[in-house]
């Protein structure tokens, strides 16, 4: 090698896809950001051997040659945190895609350098502290209205405490302007409206809390049957075509979080375009404001460099933690964590690491755990209650849930929404299978639901039991046909059918159906179960199932989910009344004929 003769300057010695090896790197640190070649391609040091470093490059390395200069920046890969994040769309290393488009058109060229936040824009800052106040890390010095939905709190960065010496008055400032000077034991320190934070390091909190409140998603099968708590972690596994992305989009649209971070990780470009097109038009059901005013998008589509895909997950979760630190509830949607795991695998293979299961690196479970553990319900440094909830899509090859990513993910989440190919084929969406899914948050959020509906636990249990019994009966039907079953059992089949079509299936495109408020979910379920209870009584009294099937309330129940909006709970009350009256009439008819044996139903 000729390196020794070329002084000690840093330069590339080998290029293989996104992995570059460099010499003269004795001063480099692990995970330090470097710039490669004359284009200044962004990379990260992932291995150090002597004065050689292995660099993972976030951009295409075509025509980079051995000898290309390497520039060390001395800092780990960090994101900018400050006003202007919400409503923006970034690539995996926080370069704003609108900025890139303004700079170089429709294509992403190499070596693109655009600041993550607009440094010229003026924000209206309002101080909340006075000079002379003692302030600790993570506490608020002022606020900025980032969007009508988001009050952005300007905080003292972690690790900085002292006495406020000066603070800027109410007025307009750039994010780089100093808005406060804090006197610390080490001397005065300037605080600007933005801070930087390394993406691979979790932001500090005071303590973790128990999860008590559900993240309301407006999706019936999730909220009613398999709820996720604020601060919880869930996985959506499913083969292709089962609707992972649509389900994720639905959750991102309607979840009652303050901030949504949507990470499109190695997925389709058009899907991100769809989000960009839809979110500004859709209104938040609680505030009536456009959803984009609380959403941050990270788009590292499948054709963008694989190394940036690996880091996009961390970029997203760091932004989420920053808003959590303001005391907000944040929901992170990662679509898809399998593509992220594949990026890990690809990079590990290039680094010639020993593979474990199916070629994935042995560190896969650790990495998954690190990611999911960055969520949670916490007390922030400033003493506020806040949360980061994480929902990760998983794309198991061939739809087989026994593969490593699904299996390891299951260890670190507590809510599992299994998507089913058969349901998707029948266009039953969301294709979350009621028997294969589970949620461990039912207990945690039970108290909250009890306030909403005292009988939530009973309703939920009864409905799930009914669906389970239906599954068993279906097995018999498959063998001998439905006609041999007694009417009591065929009633279960019939009610389960209503439950599937009229409750579990939910259209993402129907105006009334796309978001279903908790009250309406409970009302719908009550109506269906009322029909079941009354039907059971009637059949015991000798009324044939055919009569119950042909009640005129039945088609209305089937269509109730899309016929009435969230404001029309009264209509559902009327429908329930109708069920009572019609079954009552049926009962009377049979009493008249003298065949009804059971007790008259009570209202």
């Amino acid at each position: 090698m000729t390196v020794a003769s070329r002084t000690t300057e840093s330069m590339a010695t080998r290029i293989s896809g996104p992995i570059v090896t460099a010499s003269g790197m004795h001063a480099a640190q692990m995970y330090e950001v470097v710039q490669v070649g004359s284009l200044g391609l962004v990379g990260e040091v992932v291995r150090l051997v002597g004065d050689h470093a292995t660099i993972q490059v976030y951009e295409d390395t075509t025509m980079i040659k051995p000898g290309a200069p390497i520039l060390c920046t001395g800092a780990p890969l960090s994101v900018w945190l400050g006003p202007g994040l919400v409503g923006n769309i970034y690539d995996g290393i926080q370069r704003p895609l609108p900025g890139i488009q303004a700079h170089s058109g429709a294509w992403i060229r190499r070596g693109e350098k655009v600041a993550p936040l607009d440094t010229e824009k003026l924000w209206a800052f309002e101080p909340v502290v006075e000079p002379g106040e003692v302030i600790a890390e993570g506490h608020v010095i002022g606020k900025v209205e980032e969007t009508p939905l988001v009050d952005h709190l300007i905080m003292v960065p972690p690790g900085l405490s002292g006495t406020i010496r000066t603070v800027a008055g109410k007025g307009k400032y750039r994010i780089t302007d100093t808005v406060a000077v804090v006197e610390t034991p080490e001397g005065p320190r300037d605080v600007a409206m933005y801070q930087q934070w390394p993406v691979r390091v979790p932001r500090p909190i005071r303590q973790r809390l128990r999860i008590t409140e559900p993240l309301i998603t407006g999706q019936r099968i999730i909220d009613t049957f398999f709820p996720i708590g604020k601060g919880g972690a869930a996985a959506i596994p499913g083969g292709f075509g089962t609707g992972k992305t649509i389900t994720q989009h639905q959750l991102a649209k309607w979840s009652d979080a303050d901030i949504i971070v949507f990470i499109g990780c190695g997925e389709r470009g058009n899907e991100m375009t769809e989000v960009l097109r839809e979110f500004p038009e859709l209104k938040d059901p609680r505030s009536g404001r456009p959803l984009m005013e609380r959403t941050i998008l990270i788009a590292n589509t499948s054709n963008m460099p694989v190394a940036a895909r690996e880091v996009s997950i961390y970029t997203g979760i760091t932004l989420a933690e920053y808003y959590r630190d303001m005391g907000k509830s944040v929901a992170v949607f990662a679509d898809s964590t399998s593509r992220w795991a594949e990026a890990l695998r690809e990079l590990a293979a290039r680094l010639e690491e020993m593979p474990a299961e199916e070629g994935f690196p042995a560190s896969l479970p650790t990495r998954l755990a690190q990611f999911y553990e960055r969520g949670g319900a916490v007390t922030t440094l400033a003493g506020e209650r806040a949360s980061v909830s994480i929902v990760g899509a998983v794309s198991p090859p061939g739809g087989d849930f026994s593969e490593p990513v699904t299996q390891h993910t299951r260890r670190f989440i507590r809510c599992f929404w299994a998507l089913d190919t058969e349901l998707a084929n029948a266009r039953h969406y969301p294709s979350i299978h009621w028997l294969h899914s589970y949620s461990e948050y039912v207990e945690d959020v039970g108290l909250w639901w009890k306030k909403e509906a005292a009988d939530w636990v009973e309703l939920r249990t009864e409905a799930l039991t009914l669906l389970q019994r239906e599954e068993r009966l279906q097995q018999i039907v498959q063998l001998v046909g439905p006609d041999v079953l007694p009417d009591v059992q065929r009633l279960i089949l019939f009610i389960a059918e209503i439950m599937k079509d009229g409750f579990l299936a939910q259209s993402a495109f129907d105006e009334n159906d796309m978001y279903c408020s908790p009250e309406r979910q409970i009302s719908l379920l009550r109506i269906i179960l009322t029909l079941y209870h009354r039907g059971r009584d009637l059949i015991q009294g000798g009324v044939p199932l055919m009569r119950i099937r042909s009640l005129s309330c039945v088609p209305l129940i089937m269509r109730a989910k899309s016929a009435y909006g969230n404001e029309e709970l009264g209509k559902l009350g009327e429908l329930k009344q109708m069920v009572m009256e019609e079954t009552e009439a049926l009962a009377k008819e049979y009493i008249k004929e003298g065949t009804l044996l059971c007790t008259p139903p009570s209202t």
């Binding site: 390196v3 040659k65 051995p66 429709a106 190695g266 389709r268 991100m272 589509t301 046909g481 089937m558």
Partner: protein, 482 residues
């Protein structure tokens, strides 16, 4: 060290190689060579073969020879590095021509004259600059238009199997594809990877007979061409398609066939490099690599043109969970699946009802695009057909006689759906109205109460009431003629 290039270096030739293995050649002590640089390797006869650099260090360059290593020897081989990554000269005058898998003329014409040269790897489209595809393309096939509609800028592959008529189906789509309101003709870019001569011949003949040849460009890397060449063929084709679409503003329909062969070449190279194999021996980066091809479809801001992509792949042993269809399905916006059972029963096109899917359909059909009832109709047909499959399973066990009256009606509906709605002639071009009417004809063989997904208003408007008023005993085609 300098990174610029001078003429002297361009002429530099390296003699000999330290290792030749499969499609790979290792050249020692090279200097000033870039990753992914194009290489010319001169064989003993002096004929140049194209290759590219897969791995470059200060000591050696690993070169992948796209035209095979047959006849090369360690001693006699000469290597020249061309100073740039693989580029294709692009021009609209390439329409009407036939090229080989690397973009060199394969007809009698001269090499295309063009000052524009494009890196065949392309650049990723900025997702922010994409325009969402939503214009309905009418293919004239009910199974696609009615149930899995294609929109302009979509990537929709055909999952097929050996012996299934995917070539006929795709040729028919290319012949008939048009937009509803515009008389815009598609330009076509056709890339064949590892297909037999007869198949290539079939497509050329088809294009010629339909008069489409003048607005088509064909790239052939046939079954007997060196397999590694195929790795570049789809990229070469898409590079030209991008030029036609986004520089010249044309609407381009790209047909890639057969992606399974492409993936096999990728596996071959991966194995030769001693990479750690993933599922079924395919490299771990198969997903990223396929995405770098499939994602080169769509529409972008500031250009009227579009790229619509149809990739054909044959599923080995009809297995949809095989890595190639599986990963493709994760990237593309749906899939058209051909079904062997339907084909054997004489249904053409044998497009499977349930596993086929078009993800972009929801935004390109319905009021203002096709007709208000289209989404509901499709959804109801799917739901009913899914139930038919269940009933058929039951009938296999307990016999058709034992089924309930309603289930028997479903069986008849299934029959009508397959034989009348799906089934059509190879030269039959159905308008979307015909398709939708046919859909209602078929759906009306079921009683009204069974159509849970259709609103009352639509039922009133489109459901064919039975003359006899007795839904339960209606003959299968009872209401078809109205």
């Amino acid at each position: 060290m300098h990174t610029t290039f001078d003429l002297e270096d361009r002429g530099l030739q390296y003699i000999g190689a330290s290792r030749i293995e499969g499609p790979l050649v290792v050249v020692e002590r090279v200097r000033d060579v870039g990753y992914d640089e194009t290489v010319e390797i001169l064989d003993p006869t002096g004929r140049p073969r194209i290759g590219r650099v897969l791995d470059i260090s200060e000591k050696q360059a690993v070169v992948q020879v796209l035209e095979g290593t047959t006849g090369l020897s360690n001693k006699a081989l000469r290597t020249r590095f061309l100073g740039e990554s693989f580029c294709l000269p692009v021009s609209r005058h390439m329409l009407g021509r036939v090229f080989d898998g690397l973009g060199r003329p394969a007809d009698d014409g001269p090499p295309p004259l063009s000052a524009e040269k494009r890196d065949v790897n392309g650049m990723p489209i900025n997702p922010y600059a994409r325009r969402y595809p939503r214009e309905f393309i009418q293919t004239g096939l009910s199974a696609i238009d009615g149930m899995n509609a294609l929109v302009r800028g979509q990537k929709l592959p055909i999952f097929s199997g050996n012996g299934l008529p995917h070539d006929r189906v795709s040729a028919q789509i290319m012949r008939q594809a048009r937009l509803l309101d515009e008389e815009v003709e598609f330009s076509m870019v056709f890339a064949a990877m590892g297909v037999k001569h007869d198949v290539a011949e079939f497509f050329i003949r088809n294009f010629r007979e339909s008069g489409a040849l003048a607005r088509a460009v064909m790239f052939f890397s046939l079954a007997d061409s060196p397999s590694v060449e195929r790795l570049l063929t789809p990229r070469v084709a898409l590079t030209l398609a991008e030029h036609l679409a986004f520089d010249c503003g044309q609407h381009v329909l790209v047909l890639l066939t057969d992606m399974t062969n492409y993936c096999e070449s990728l596996r071959e190279v991966g194995t030769a490099r001693g990479e750690i194999p993933g599922r079924k021996g395919y490299p771990g980066y198969l997903y990223s690599d396929l995405a770098s091809i499939y994602e080169r479809a769509g529409r972008i801001e500031g250009s009227p043109g579009s790229i619509t992509q149809m990739a054909i792949l044959t599923m080995p042993a009809d297995d949809i969970s095989h890595p190639v269809p599986d990963l493709t399905g994760y990237i593309t916006e749906g899939q058209i699946v051909l079904d062997r059972e339907l084909f054997q029963r004489g249904v053409y096109p044998p497009i499977a009802g349930l596993p086929s899917l078009s993800r972009l359909m929801k935004d390109g059909v319905g009021k203002g695009y096709t007709r208000e009832d289209h989404p509901t109709l499709a959804s109801q047909l799917f739901a009913c057909y899914a139930y038919v499959k269940k009933v058929r399973g039951l009938a296999d066990v307990i016999g058709e006689e034992e089924l309930s009256t309603l289930d028997k009606q479903y069986l008849k509906f299934g029959e009508a759906f397959e034989m009348r709605f799906l089934n059509q002639g190879e030269f039959e071009n159905r308008s979307i109205e015909t398709t939708l009417e046919l859909g209602w004809d078929v759906l009306s063989t079921l009683p009204k109460d069974e159509l849970h997904r259709v609103s009352d208003a639509l039922l009133k408007k489109y459901y064919r009431e039975k003359a006899e008023g007795q839904a339960c005993v209606a003959p299968p085609f009872g209401s078809a003629t109205r």
